[in-house]
Symmetry: D2
Subunit: 409 residues, 4 copies
């Protein structure tokens, strides 16, 4: 990265000559915010095994401390999503203040509706009204936490579904879900938003109550304007054109946010941009397209949600932030005027080459320049690794015990 | 099949003892109507080759004659879907009368928006307003034909989409589609319905404008109550729970009809029920579940849509009709009261066994009995093959020429 | 099931008239052996949550006790696969005797190469030779156990792979794998067999070292004649024609065994036959086809391998055994002579109808008759549920603690 | 592209400082040969429609003329694959000389075993020996053509398979295939190679006789050393790690060649690198890895095989060649020594970042420099579009007629 300055100079000249507003691009890169998830700093795993990471965070405070590192070196990760009850504390006001002291805000609140024994047959869609009550009450608790810590968004992922044909009434579950979400939504003060996630399958294997964007959209449109759809990049069947879904939801005013990650086959929760970075670029092209359209109101939360089990946590999240920045930077370089002309005249190759011209540009000098402007090291990953923090947490925290996946016993 | 009477007697006793209303089942089987497609009687193929079938129908009249055979032997296929311009005639009133003389009605009218050179970049979503005009006008023509022949449904499958990233504006195409469909819908007289089909991919390979049920639903909900969604069983990504989509659309009052076929990987257009007959059974379970719910208005058109290239056409369609009947008959035997109890008490295995009990029942004696009641041979396929009709059309019509798929030249 | 006798009588007459050797079918059904897995009696789950089952087995002895129940009521599950170290005991000779006292044999030995912290980057393919040594030694230990308990098969599933592009050398890992398997195979006494499982993905998400049948076949053909391929029905990409793989491996003399389960999307480990029972039937058609061919040596181990998290364990395994029996019984009814004639003359519909004729037959009376012949209740599931065993183990064992999936903490 | 010289200077300095042999990279880029397919210059389409391109080539000579353009502007496409009978001529010696006069060689010969009416039930695997004879004879004819024109490779894609369960004997078809391939292989003079392609599905929808790399590998290993596997990038189930298959086949000495294209869902035959360019880069990383390993003999034919229906043909192929060059150039920049060290020490993020460092480099200045060295325009696509050739062929050839896809009539 040492020679980035020279490369930046050549690139900036080239882009300016092409009519790109380079200072505007840098400003956009500075303004991008990417929320990291508290659970991304803690151990995670597959059903077969949790490989405990040396130094992985064990408490909400440790998670915030680690998140502060990601923000310190990237400058664009100022908020942290919480997961309740994983991050339950006695006093959320104190937690908020502690976060602020680290330069952080508390972001989306994620209720957990899948790890209580009661939820074996579902949470908000459970046939038993007492269990639905339990699940709704947990969501109401999360709304209260959000209010306390000043979070705008409730991110609701529902693991509900069935694993055997006939297990439950599909329409019955839908009715229960509408009823439950209506009660939850009614409890949310303006301007708090309900982000309704969907997922094609897993952990329910036969049918998932919110299985695709259409089901989340249906629910959101029933509830009201502050109910939005959350797109997790790993929650689609293979071959899905995610950027189309993004564009449609933006156009409908219903895209609330992203959970960024990547997949090779299923919900692999791999590092965002690590399997198909071009797809991530195309998604950002749609976001910028909508932002440039005054008729669309774009208000989207960018959140990482990965379950990277093998990589060390903080470096993995710094890498993820960078991958998102690279895709965004590339998308900012698209010559949108020429693209629209090529599209309208049916020049397919020309239109595609306009995208490729942006995508093939090495945008790392732009990111380095932006970082330098705000006083950061141009290479966040190396800067973090040099900082000694990783050694410190490994020494202080050690390795957690257990996490063997299911045991057959 | 000779011994079906004895088997029927044992089965009917057994079912009656279980509380099943056997005459009611037979009545339901008699009342089921399955529309066959005019194009199912003509040659079809893959992109690599059309294998011309000896005796395949070449004209609208030949297709109707063949469809009359399917109805003659099954008794449940009294209508034929038309595809315009494949079935274009000078006088649709005469065609209707001709159909009536064969004991047939004319069913859904299918506009063709994919085989005109103009549609290279789309039809209703084409960037060129002149081509959108052409496409809309074709739909208006189809509405006029539907009015003339007394068809209730316009079945709209849109091949529109793009095959390269950047080729066209995703949101722009959506806006054009809403505008076009609005004009088409406005031209449809009550009670004519617009059935909006969706398809995950092909022939557009990067993005399909109506790619999933959610997109069709979104359009339908914009248009009005007589806009419905059409579910083609082959138009989903692998792993999709189709019965869930069916249940949701029924519950929303938006399921307009089916295109029945089956798939192993993509839109293979294989014989319905030939790859996963249990899935077809589960779909009928949802249909019956909704029919039994007075709060749901079920008004669904059952249409075959296959592109069986290797099997002789008429026998293939008779086989398809039977496969649908078998699934429906099995679903009619589900003990719905016990199922609901098992579901509500979370007895997963019991609930599943109730479905399996119905599915494992050999329902062929019920179908044989129903056919005998209405004066048909209990084995439609054998009866047709014995009839001599197939030999007659082979002799009269011969084999069509050409259809070599793309030639590389 | 009460009226099965009358149905049996009609069916047996009908089959005999068709030339089916009904006593031969019953004999084949009696002779079928389906191995159950020790881990199928213990708690299992997804990465999100293990829902602990009341009464789930906790020790090797409890697992054997439960397996004895499955065998007691089905009569066709006389052996139990072990998983080491989950089933590790001090004295395997004693365990074998204990099994024998319950009427059971010990079946395939399954090494565990995925739950040791050392295996984060792989076991037999790990870049570190010391860890490969650890993994090989574990396999050698399992061979010793197999020798002690009289097991013929080592079932090797390798979770090895990588989750990031570039993580390791693909060819390097292949070379390490050949070396490790060669050492393991060399240690296996004749006639012990090495069954090499493959899996498309999970828990490695970017690349799996043994990802498909071809890779397992490649390894087996390097090792020797007693190295075979193990087919787990859930370990293929969607759309795979599994019966074709089965036929090819049989034809090559390399099919060693099955892990039976079913999937809707990924390796869902659902009840065998619960999503697509027709596929299971088609697999058995290939097995019987090969058994009828004197040039093929069929020696295949049938093992259940499910991770049914929501159903009670013993009933779920009884249900699974029955599902396998149903598919096998249906496949036994295929008129193979007529099928071959139809195939050779290109009569596609006729060939397919011959399969459907067998598949649509309600074979439950045949299974009931077979069970009665060997002194069992005709309905194993109901007989088990009536027996009081389930209540007994629930009372005695209670519910295990923990198993919350990953905690984000 | 105008400013590429300055960017090249900065990049070359940067790469040299990193230890990259920049002249060596340019030499490798010059030496890369990418074969274009004769059928890529002619009209093609989907099953629904062939959109005839103005100026598309209609004869073998027109195809060669167009291929000469692609080579003229890229400098790396000196050979053309032929498809028989699409490119059948009276005198292949004359065709070879004509090609030479255009600066071209004739490349792989592709038999056509899917467009004769006789092949409805298969070609080399047809149940009818007379049809197998026809298919074998066609292959023998192609071998003779290859001998005449000096082609080294026969590229065999087999559309054979079945579309209905039970349609034919799976093992029987395998036996017929081995027999047929053995006869074909025996007729091939050294050093002619048989490249055996595989495909997951289509146009056979239930089972494909050569459905995956394992089946092609099995055949090749039966035949002899000059039988190799051909990898078409579009012929895998979704989620397949193609670079792993490439690495395995290279390691086994069985990778014969590629058909380059890209897919979103099925065998979409889109522009190579247009959906997931990172995957293409990873494939080239494996190729270079094997080339750097003296124990591996890499002899791989790079061929484009696309069916781009909407883009103009020659520009689409120039674009495709460039996409392949970009991926290759990026892969040449991987710091292989550091990568190996990172892999061996388990530094996953570092290993991945080494790949990303190469992938994110804007390699277009390297390609421009290479082109200039060999006297070409640095921007082949623009140079072609400026040349007037496209206008000339549009004017001379016009638009072909027909190609309407299947007609339903």
């Amino acid at each position: 990265m040492g020679q980035w300055r020279e490369a930046y100079s050549v690139l900036a000249d080239h882009l300016s000559a092409r009519g790109i507003d380079v200072p505007g691009v840098l400003a956009a890169l500075r303004a991008q915010h990417i929320e990291t998830p508290s659970w991304g700093y803690a151990d995670s795993g597959t059903r077969f095994k949790v490989f405990n990471q040396p130094g992985a965070a064990r408490t909400a405070r440790e998670k915030l401390a680690d998140a502060a590192q990601v923000h310190r070196y990237t400058g664009v990760a100022p908020s942290v999503a919480l997961h309740i009850p994983w991050d339950r504390v006695d006093d959320y006001g104190v937690l908020k203040e502690h976060a602020a002291s680290l330069g952080l805000e508390l972001g989306a609140i994620n209720p957990n509706l899948f790890q209580d024994d009661a939820y074996r047959l579902g949470s908000l869609t459970n046939p038993d009204p007492a269990i639905r009550r339990l699940a709704i009450d947990h969501c109401l608790e999360c709304i209260e936490i959000a209010r306390t810590v000043g979070s705008r968004d409730i991110s609701l992922w529902l693991a509900d579904g069935t694993s055997s044909p006939g297990q439950d009434s599909i329409r019955g579950r839908k009715h229960r879900l509408i009823d439950a979400l209506s009660e939850i939504y009614a409890a949310m003060p303006d301007p708090m938003r309900l982000l309704i996630e969907y997922k094609f399958f897993e952990p329910a294997f036969y049918m998932t109550d919110l299985g695709d964007w259409g089901m989340s959209y249906l629910m959101a449109s029933r509830l009201g304007e502050r109910a939005k759809v959350l797109v997790d990049l790993g929650h689609h069947p293979l071959g899905t054109n995610i950027e189309q879904i993004v564009a449609l939801l933006l156009d409908e005013g219903r895209l609330g946010g992203f959970h960024f990650n990547n997949k090779k086959y299923a919900d692999d929760d791999l590092t965002v941009g690590s399997i198909n970075p071009y797809e991530l670029f195309l998604i950002f092209c749609e976001l910028i397209d909508a932002e440039c359209d005054p008729s669309v109101d774009v208000d989207v939360a960018y959140m990482l949600d990965e379950s990277v089990n093998l990589k060390p946590k903080i470096p993995a999240l710094i890498q993820s932030v960078i991958n998102v920045q690279v895709a965004y930077a590339q998308a900012l370089l698209v010559d949108r005027t020429s693209l629209r002309e090529a599209q309208e005249s049916g020049c397919i190759i020309k239109a595609e080459e306009i995208l490729l011209d942006a995508y093939r540009t090495d945008v790392r000098p732009l990111l380095a320049a932006m970082r330098e402007e705000i006083g950061l090291d141009p290479d966040p990953l190396q800067a973090y690794l040099r900082s000694g923090y990783q050694d410190k947490i490994v020494a202080e925290r050690g390795v957690a015990d257990g996490g063997a996946g299911f045991q057959g016993a």
